[in-house]
Amino acid sequence: MSNPAPILQLRRRLAELGCPLAVAKRIVAETADHLEDLRQAGLAGGLTETAASAQAALCLGEPAALAEQHLTRLRESSWWGRHPRLGFGLVPILATPVLWILFWLVAVYSSVLVGRTGFQFYFDVPAQFGVMLIGVGLGKFAAIGLIAAIYHRLARRAALNFAWSVLACGLCSLYALFFHANLEPHSFMLGIYGGFHHWFLPALNSNWPEATVPLLVLLIAHARQQRTTAWLLQPAS
């Protein structure tokens, strides 16, 4: 089905505003339905095809303004959309360490449950301790990625600009750069690097792989956004 001019304009503006794919699809579908109903009504009223299409476009309203209204309403409907500075600037600073430790502990505990035994057994049997080390390592990466993905998801649901995801994921990346979680037999440490070289010579920091995880999340999110833009800008669908 070809897209009438107002629908093309609507799609273009939604793409410019960075509308999430699912939302964009629904807006386009409903507006196209409405436009078709208006056109049919015009034809039933005795108008020519051209006149009916022109009248339908007029009744529908300015497509670009319509796209903006949709996105504004979407933002107003969530706390994250109404307060992006707090939500993606301040909340990640305060909540990321708490969430990170929480998710990491869940991962550690899960690795214990997989072995159906307690911490003590793991610590005392080298082979089992190795399994736990893998669980802890994976849990660390998973926790960092999951938190970054949550922030990005919240920004997308509120139809916010991609820059807010970048801000929140950037903060996650910074935290990941300076957090450490070390597991040794009969002890584990969880904390933040405080040494001079970690803060002022980040090139010496060993946490680069962890810090890349939120950036990878951003990269995937960006690719998905590009896919949405491509769908919105294609001439017909």
Binding site: I27, L66, R73
Partner: protein
């Protein structure tokens, strides 16, 4: 301190939509046409404006929607929820309060 009414005055389209959906399930085009018929075309607006309102009402869980295929056309149909019913009652009583207050100011004049 007594609350002012900015959200109520902005909420007239919300009141109309909820009122219509309280009667039956409708899709966007039907809602717009019903408003035009019932207000004798007194309220004119770009018809596409109805959808941001409907999506907002859905996000607030005042209405729910479902894609249905009826007579060869697939459309989003909207239904009022129990939460929407309560919201409608609140908006209706607020509307009555405001119109009574305006009538008092206008005195004997026909509003």
């Amino acid at each position: 301190m007594k609350k002012t009414n900015p959200s109520f005055l902005n909420g007239v389209p919300e009141l109309l939509v909820l009122r219509l959906l309280a009667r039956r399930t409708m899709y966007g085009y039907e809602i717009v046409k019903e408003i035009q018929v019932q207000t004798k075309d007194a309220l004119t607006f770009g018809e596409g404006c109805i959808y941001p309102y409907l999506h907002y009402l859905e996000a607030e869980k005042f209405v729910r929607s479902e894609r249905r295929q009826i007579e060869g056309r697939s459309r989003h149909y909207y239904d009022l929820t129990a939460r929407g019913q309560k919201r409608l009652e609140a908006l209706t009583s607020e509307w009555a309060r405001v119109t009574d207050a305006v009538a008092l100011v206008m005195g004997g004049q026909h509003v």
